[in-house]
């Protein structure tokens, strides 16, 4: 782990990872904050130094938090630095198949986020063409002076965050852990299974989406409602794979 004042590299200042970035923060005086803050910063700082092309990207903290939580809770009374080291290692492993989603320079490459979003869209189309067409046709009328034009629904508006952060901003911690169990235990690999879960999330609110317009659909998907999680995972398990099968690289 890096030294506490090891900021000289100029890649990332400690203050750039704010308390507000701490997903388990329950106020400055909370035990969570006191115990977790320093370790989380250490891990993210080291990751940024080892991956200078990517650095620290907002949201990485959300991906790290469930890992650190699990290790910290399982090492009660032991040296907390082990939890720090273990979660660092797992964080690197977990992101190994998708770290390029955090990299702006790769956005439009075959490993970038846009390519993944396209595969996500293909997966939905293969499993529910009608819903796919409905979402694709959702348009928003915009006034621009004497002109009006339409803005089309794009999976990027909601699924960008779902995929990049492995659903950590969409659910409570206990649900995130259940979903991650599912992602990590599936031999197809985290990224492919993640896309299936995201697709299942759409199918599980299908009725609302089909009845909704652009604005209500976007609000629904940006604030995903409470649903029966086991049902979502069950739907994900039974999805068809599109003909042009997506083969993301992943070592988990």
């Amino acid at each position: 782990m890096p030294g506490r004042d090891n900021e000289a590299g100029g890649l990332l200042c400690r203050r750039e990872i704010s308390n507000g970035d701490h997903p388990l923060c329950l106020g400055n005086g909370s035990i969570w904050n006191q115990y977790f803050k320093e370790a989380m910063r250490n891990i993210l700082l080291l990751f940024a130094k080892l991956n200078p092309a990517i650095g620290y990207v907002q949201g990485m903290n959300e991906v790290l938090a469930p890992l650190y939580y699990v290790f910290r809770m399982n090492q009660e009374g032991e040296d907390a630095s082990e939890a720090e080291a273990d979660s660092f290692e797992c964080f690197v492993q977990l992101l190994s198949g998708s770290v390029d989603h955090f990299c702006q320079q790769l956005d439009n490459s075959s490993v970038g986020i846009h390519s993944t979003l396209l595969h996500f869209s293909e997966l939905l189309k293969a499993n529910d063409g009608e819903l796919w067409r409905h979402l694709d046709a959702s348009k928003l009328l915009i006034e621009l002076g004497m002109f009006t034009f339409y803005m089309q629904m794009n999976p990027q508006f909601y699924a960008f965050r779902w995929i990049t952060l492995l659903l950590t901003q969409e659910f409570e911690l206990s649900s995130i852990m259940r979903i991650w169990d599912y992602l990590l235990s599936n031999p197809s690999g985290v990224q492919e299974v993640l896309l299936r879960v995201c697709c299942a999330m759409l199918l599980c609110v299908r009725h609302e989406l089909v009845c909704g317009d652009f604005i209500s659909n976007l609000k629904l998907l940006q604030h995903y409602p409470e649903v029966d999680l086991e049902h979502v995972l069950d739907v994900a398990s039974h999805l068809k794979t599109p003909v042009s099968s997506y083969q993301p690289y992943s070592i988990i």
Partner: protein, 215 residues
């Protein structure tokens, strides 16, 4: 055809973007305006989030569709795609952190390269509750705003000071500009959403947006 559904009456729908450095309080400004909420533990915005609120101006119902964007550099390429079609922008800085004010020049430049030059811009110095550690004077920010042909105000999302005024100020101004038909897409096709189907529909101002329905 378009699945657009006018389930709420309004006369105009305006798209407004919230931009500025990470941590200046964009998300809390929006949550204060849209839902009268404030959170000390707001999570970082990843990509874009949006909210709507309808206000009255001159007896007209104006629905604001506000796109809140991520402030961190990595997300810029992703979020600048959402600038297109916006008729107003709030460029936010944290008045207790000078660098966030200095960076507004870059945000404005980026905004103008993606939108109509007549877009209504308001420079917003947020976190006015931290005035005791202020790093940017009102005069300096005002002078900069004048130079950039932008409006200027200071707000506190925490203490709910001036937040509604900032948004309604921008919306009212847009309404007046649209009334004068000053805004136009012009010859610049980049002002339109890239890779998306555009249905341009010349129509009279008196026709309400929601009445146009789908083309």
């Amino acid at each position: 055809m378009a699945a657009y559904r006018a389930d709420e009456e309004y006369d105009y729908l305006f798209k407004v973007v919230l931009i500025g450095d990470a941590g200046v309080g964009k998300t809390n400004l929006l949550s204060r305006f849209a839902r009268d909420e404030f959170s000390f533990e707001t999570k970082s915005t990843i990509g874009v989030e949006f909210a709507t609120r309808t206000i009255h101006v001159d007896g007209k119902l104006i629905k604001a569709q506000i796109w809140d964007t991520a402030g961190q550099d990595r997300y810029r390429a992703i979020t600048s795609a959402y600038y297109r079609g916006s008729v107003g922008a709030l460029v936010v800085f944290d008045l207790s952190r000078r660098v966030t004010f200095e960076n507004t020049a870059r945000w404005l430049q980026e905004l103008r390269s993606h939108t109509d030059p007549n877009i209504v811009v308001m420079l917003v110095g947020n976190k006015a509750d931290l005035r005791h550690i202020r790093a940017v004077s009102v005069e300096e920010a005002q002078a900069f705003a004048r130079k950039e042909k932008a409006f200027f105000t200071e707000t506190s999302a925490l203490e709910s000071i001036n937040v509604a005024d900032a948004f309604t100020g921008v919306l009212t101004q847009i309404y007046h500009v649209v009334g004068r038909k000053v805004l136009a897409i012009g010859d610049d096709p980049s002002a339109l959403p890239i890779g998306q189907t555009i249905n341009i529909d010349m129509k009279d101002d008196r026709q309400a947006a929601n009445k146009a329905g789908c083309c």
